[in-house]
Amino acid sequence: MAAIGVHLGCTCACVAVYKDGRADVVANDAGDRVTPAVVGYLENEVIVGLAAKQTRVRNATNTVVKVKQILGRSCDDPHAQKHISESKCSVIEKGGKLRYEIDTGDIVKLVSPEDVAKLIFSKMKETAQSALGSDVNDVVITVPFDFGDNQKKALGDAAAAAGFNILRMVHEPSAALLAYGIGQDSPTGKSNVLVYKLGGTSLCVTMIEVNSGIYRVLATKTYDDIGGLCFTEALAQYLASEFQRSYKQDISGNARAMMKLMNSADVAKHSLSTLGSANCFVDSLYDGIDFDCSVSRARFELICSSLFNQCIDPIKILLEQVGVKATDVNQVVLCGGSARMPKLQQLIRDLFPDVELLSSIPPDEVIPIGAAIEAGILLGKENPSMELDTITIECTASDILVKEADESGAETFSILLPSGTPLPARRQHTLQAPGTYTSVCLELYESVRKSSTPENSKFAQIVLKDLQKKDNGVHDIVTVLTMKRDGSLHVTCTEKDTGRSEMITIEDSS
């Protein structure tokens, strides 16, 4: 059994397959693991991927890029407006829907964004099937967190038109978490994970709380004005100024030369992620002049220093919004191709000095791998189709704490049942009391935040009496907390040696 995970981004698409218990990205027919999400319309054929990206220099008006930006959007959507104004390929409104106007000689075709997406999906399907050697159609598709119903539907329709059987659509940040298997090993415990995704045209930071293996998005923020392309553009601008300096020719007005330069800058940027310096070479860039320039990584980082700051600020804003300190974040997941940049990783590391930065999987492959893993999980499930939006579950609203004393005698609180745990929940703890005691008292508190534990938040106490004295030992008290879906809490305490037990039931206030 095998399944596919597909991530369609604004600039690139990537497919991963799940087979034999593991998920891996598969390379396309050109040998690239990531396929540019570019569709070019020629006179009598349609090309997808790298070839389309390269022919774009000559065929800009009939090449569709960043189709995801207007997929499923209406004409008056500001995002769509922005895309229309930027797109080299003319976009017109027909019957309330947006269409690309493709003029390949004889007739002017009107191509819907769904059709373009369908072509990309078909390409991804081809890639996956050639790697698997079998006809597999079950797929999990990732969508950005800010996608609305219309956009999801359009994406789903495009995938279905390409012949996919959509098992589910998952949000990109969740897929990223799943790729690293966060919270999947043990169903207990709670952690905060920051997902940092810097894609081609957008930046998305998301804070996810993982509790009992279930992910909950605390906050997310998407910035559409920054992305990998901004870096490429900055580099291209720099290269253009270099060209002007050496040859006294201004090429910034020449769209074709700039596009060539952009492609070259893109390649240079990629190699700068791994190498100290990159060579940028364009044959016959302008007026028959060949251009050759070497850019060092330091130079690149200097050019883009303001962009880097722009990329880091959203993290701080998000942390403030959630009210989580940098130290409370347990893990940071990097995804999106632009998160490869060493400088960026360094900056994030500086921001979270003690936090584990997950980047072992190539950042641009994290999301499709997560999608493939999800597809693997869903595979063979009888009825996996579920409405994505309506998954709401009951969770505990506050932490349940017990008051303890440390060695020095100071009062401490330890969490028995963390907030945000999906209900029904059952937690078992073995608490200890000094063997010299004959009676033990468990004072139960509740608190929304760990930081403050006012005295009046105590809601119950359990007293175990007549315990046998143990001079050199401890009393092991097994405490089981069970909370039902209606919010009623049941606590049972049992002293291990004597079997003496006490139990209470606390009803929900409502």
């Binding site: 998952v170 969740s174 897929a175 799943l178 919270g183 999947q184 169903p187 996810i208 009992s212 293996g213 279930i214 992910y215 909950r216 998005v217 997560g370 999800e374 999980i377 499930k381 579920m386 994505l388 998954i391 709401t392 579950i393 009951e394 969770c395 505990t396 609203a397 506050s398 017990v402 303890e404 060695e407 999906p422 209900l423 200890q432 009391a433 000094p434 005691y437 009676s439 033990v440 008292c441 468990l442 809601f459 119950a460 106490q461 007293v463 175990l464 401890v474 008290i477 909370m483 879906r485 209606d486 919010g487 809490l489 006490e502 039931t505 606390i506 009803e507 929900d508 206030s509 409502s510």
Partner: protein
Amino acid sequence: MLLEARPELSTAVLRPLGAASLLCQVEPVGRWFEAFIKRRNRNVSASFQELEDEKETSEESEDEEFQIEEFALLKTLDPKDWKNQDHYAVLGLKNLRYKATQKQIKAAHKAMVLKHHPDKRKAAGEQIVEGDNDYFTCITKAYEILSDPVKRRAFNSIDPTFDNSVPSKSEAKDNFFEVFSPVFERNNRWSNKKNVPKLGNMSTSIEDVDGFYSFWYNFDSWREFSYLDEEEKEKAECRDERRWIEKQNRAARAQRKKEEMNRIRTLVDNAYSSDPRIKKFKEEEKARKEAEKKAKADARRKEQEEKEKQRLAELEAVRLAKEKEDEEARQQALVLKKEKEIQKKAIKKERQRLRTTCKNWNYFSENEADSVKMMEEIEKLCDRLELTSLQSLNETLSGTSKEASKSAVEKQIAEVNLQIKREKEQEEARMRQSTKGAEQSSSGGGGSSKSWSEDDLQLLIKAVNLFPAGTNARWEVIANYMNLHSVSGIKRTAKDVINKAKSLQKLDPQQKDDINKKAFDKFKKEHKVVAQAVDNAVPSERFEAPGADLSTPWTTEEQKLLEQALKTYPVNTPERWEKIADAVPGRSKKDCMKRYKELVEMVKAKKAAQEQVLNTTKAKK
């Protein structure tokens, strides 16, 4: 480390939890999520699960109780004829049949094996038939069939105890429910879908009854007839044979399935047509519709009556108003008439006065002639002058001397004459204007610099019809023809001709039609004449001096008559032209001959023009 309890404390709940649970939106990913959802769904249906569990346990307890009914004829069964045996009966499950669970079948088989296995019987000292001929084979076969769900279904499908009969309509006349209920109960076991709707009773709602019949009309049966296959695929020796067998079997199965579907269909049809509820519903529906119709008709009639009433009232009102108006108008007319009469009288009086005054002064003249002229002028004055001016004139006349009054009268006369003259001029001007306009309109639409006279237009139309579309270099030919024949002497190019022809086409359809008709008539006439002329061409024919009377043109009527005459009196007729002239009333012999000559000329010219164009085009090539 936990704290020690103070002695006064005891286990207690101090207060309920504040907002213990809240709803969170979670991401639908990961295996724990799946597990959670599964668990939650389980919880939801816990009661159902329990019920199912209970059922299972009760079945198990039944297992121990259920009775295996020994098949009396078991030992007489022929193992070779296993296909026709009742497998349920063989295993002792005659009562349970298709309701038997797998567990029960297994248990029954076990019991039978324990009892009938050859080894057991041998031990009991029974005689055993060697090999497959022992009846135990039947038990094995029965178990083989019933333990395999597919084979068991195939056997169930042709269950020999199943009653396939369908009650007829007449059977169910009085006790519909008693007759059909068990039949449907019996047949619903073939349904692929669970929860087969029940037939119900007289008080079942129409929705349920509809649901019942739509279910049965779309009955989805799992019944199949592979068990009855006559040939066994396994027996075939080669692939071809196997294929043939398969084909045969498939055809047989399809046939049986069709019959089965027909059976169900007939059953449902019978039930539907004899269902008293359906009848009732239909009647109710009919009654309801009729009531509705009646209500509608009533409403319509009422509305119409209302309308009629309103209309009558309106008519009455209008009539009254009109009467009133008429009355007023009459009154007014009367008043006006009176006034007019008064005025008329006054004017008459004034005129009389003027006349008498003038007469008194002997028309301001000495001699007779002058006085007559003056009299005329005075009469004119009387006619033309208004009441007021007449009055004033009379005033002046009565108050002054003869000379003064003469001058006054003369002045008045001069004024009147001037006025008359002006009017006349105006009239003339208007006349001129209109004639000019007519001219303009007749030559209008030309647009070209060269003006087109009426004759030219006629000529053009003729030429256009003469050289129909498709003629080689048509417009040049036409232009040439025009140049040759035109009286105006204006040289026209093909372009001019095209423009004019186009503008003519644009004329209003009526006019165009007329022109066309006329032109076509002419064309036809000429054509015929031409043909005639060619036939009758007698070069020696002599004409009397031409050019006598050009003024009267030939009408179509006359032309027709001429043609007719030319035909009736061939060339060698004695006194031909006299006879022709007789045949055309109003035309002399001379006229006829002239006309004939003209026509011949025309034909010749036309030919010449055509040839010329042909030559030029040839030369160009």
